[in-house]
């Protein structure tokens, strides 16, 4: 198996994230309280959202899923991220939480993905930023361009075939 380039590897602490923090459920409880009469329904919905929420961060992008009756699975490629918003209100900060809202070029009014209950929201924001288009120095040339490398190898093979043909021609 070909080893992946270093810039494609996911930091282990980020790859290990699969579930939101437990504090998120406390925040959901506060949110549900704010709905007053609708509290029983809201807390039930948020409870299932919390317990079914799953994250996966791989080399391509973010996978997020939640829901039982209506299951949502969202995959967002890192290179398609347009803006990253880091939001937190005072209650969330008391609980050590923050939301990361990710925008792509899609035309929806809300964010395309909201990451909640992450252990280190600022670190995650910095990681996502590092994977965004344009976050790296545009003028820094990569050590090896894969396409150029393959083409150079093809050229070497063709050269070897030509030399073999020429050698055979001179012998014959």
């Amino acid at each position: 198996m070909t080893p992946q380039p270093i810039h494609n590897q996911i930091p282990p602490e980020i790859a290990a994230i699969t579930r939101p923090k437990d504090e998120l459920m406390k925040w959901y409880f506060c949110k549900a309280l704010a709905t007053t009469f609708a509290f029983p329904i809201t807390i039930l919905l948020l409870y299932f959202r919390f317990h079914t929420m799953r994250y996966k961060f791989d080399t391509e992008g973010i996978h997020m899923g939640w829901g039982i009756i209506v299951r949502h699975e969202v995959m967002l490629n890192y290179s398609r991220i347009q803006d990253i918003h880091l939001h937190s209100n005072v209650f969330e900060r008391w609980l050590g939480l923050a939301r990361i809202e990710i925008q792509t070029a899609a035309g929806s009014s809300g964010s395309e993905m909201t990451l909640e209950g992450l252990p280190d929201p600022e670190g995650m924001r910095n990681f996502l930023y590092s994977r965004m288009r344009g976050a790296h120095d545009k003028h820094a040339t990569p050590a090896t361009d894969p396409l150029a490398g393959v083409l150079t190898e093809i050229a070497s093979e063709l050269r070897a075939i030509r030399q073999a043909v020429e050698q055979r021609g001179s012998q014959g």
């Binding site: 918003h85 344009g134 396409l147 083409l151 050229a155 021609g169």
Partner: protein, 240 residues
């Protein structure tokens, strides 16, 4: 007094410290702040808002006081006076809080630009930090209303691709807009951002109009070598 109040509010609300600049060359990091007149403008808004609320509430209070003195029984009048006193205290507290909020809102506002990206942070009770790269920018807009012009202020809006938001594509509420509010050097910042954008001529969506990148050039050179070798091979096969 204000320093003490500020430190108490910041510690209670746990507002994060000054934001870190996004990745970019250290020499290119520039941190902009809202102009001093932006603070004055906000204070002016606070003063008018508070005055208007005081007039409305005062008129309503006087009308109720007149009605209470004529029609309410003695216990009803005492109840009304207690409610009026609590209301007055709450109103004064909200006026003071709104004043402190104007000051903090002005102070806790950062616009950070590097050679690759920008970060905008504002807010106290609810903080909001937006980060985007120049490679995603679609449009830059400077706007100023009559009052802002009078005070030498302008807003700079930097928009990335994508729709949404209640007020249309140019709405400040759109999630795709980085808004630098209350600048007294908006044109200077716009020129700086435009200068940074020149190295990202393929920024935003759409077809790039520039010469091939170094990676593409190296691939092109390798492809030419392959072509020459293929021609040489054909010539060698033709001879043999």
């Amino acid at each position: 007094m204000f320093d003490w109040l500020r430190s108490v509010i910041l510690s209670i609300t746990m507002v994060p410290p000054e934001p870190h600049p996004p990745e970019g060359s250290a020499a290119s990091v520039r941190i902009f702040r809202a102009g001093r007149n932006y603070y004055r403008l906000r204070i002016l808004g606070w003063a008018f808002g508070s005055l208007w609320s005081a007039i409305v509430l005062g008129a309503a209070g006087m009308a109720l006081e007149m009605a209470a003195s004529r029609r309410f029984p003695p216990w009803g009048q005492s109840l009304w006076h207690t409610i009026a006193a609590i209301g007055l205290i709450l109103f004064l507290a909200s006026v003071v809080w709104a004043f402190v909020q104007q000051q903090l809102n002005y102070e806790l506002r950062w616009y950070i630009v590097t050679d690759r990206s920008l970060r905008v942070r504002h807010g106290i009770i609810s903080t909001h930090e937006l980060t985007t790269t120049f490679a995603n920018i679609q449009e830059i807009r400077v706007s100023a209303g009559p009052l802002q012009k009078l005070l030498g202020l302008a807003d700079l809006e930097i928009q990335s691709a994508g729709g949404g938001g209640g007020g249309g594509p140019h709405s400040s509420s759109s999630a795709h807009v980085a808004r630098f509010s209350g600048l007294d050097n908006a044109n200077e910042i716009r020129d700086y951002v435009v200068n940074c954008l020149r190295q990202y001529r393929d920024s935003g969506l759409g077809e790039a109009d520039h010469s091939p990148s170094p990676e593409a050039s190296s691939a092109l050179a390798a492809a030419h070598t392959v072509l020459e070798e293929a021609r040489g091979l054909r010539a060698a096969l033709g001879k043999s």
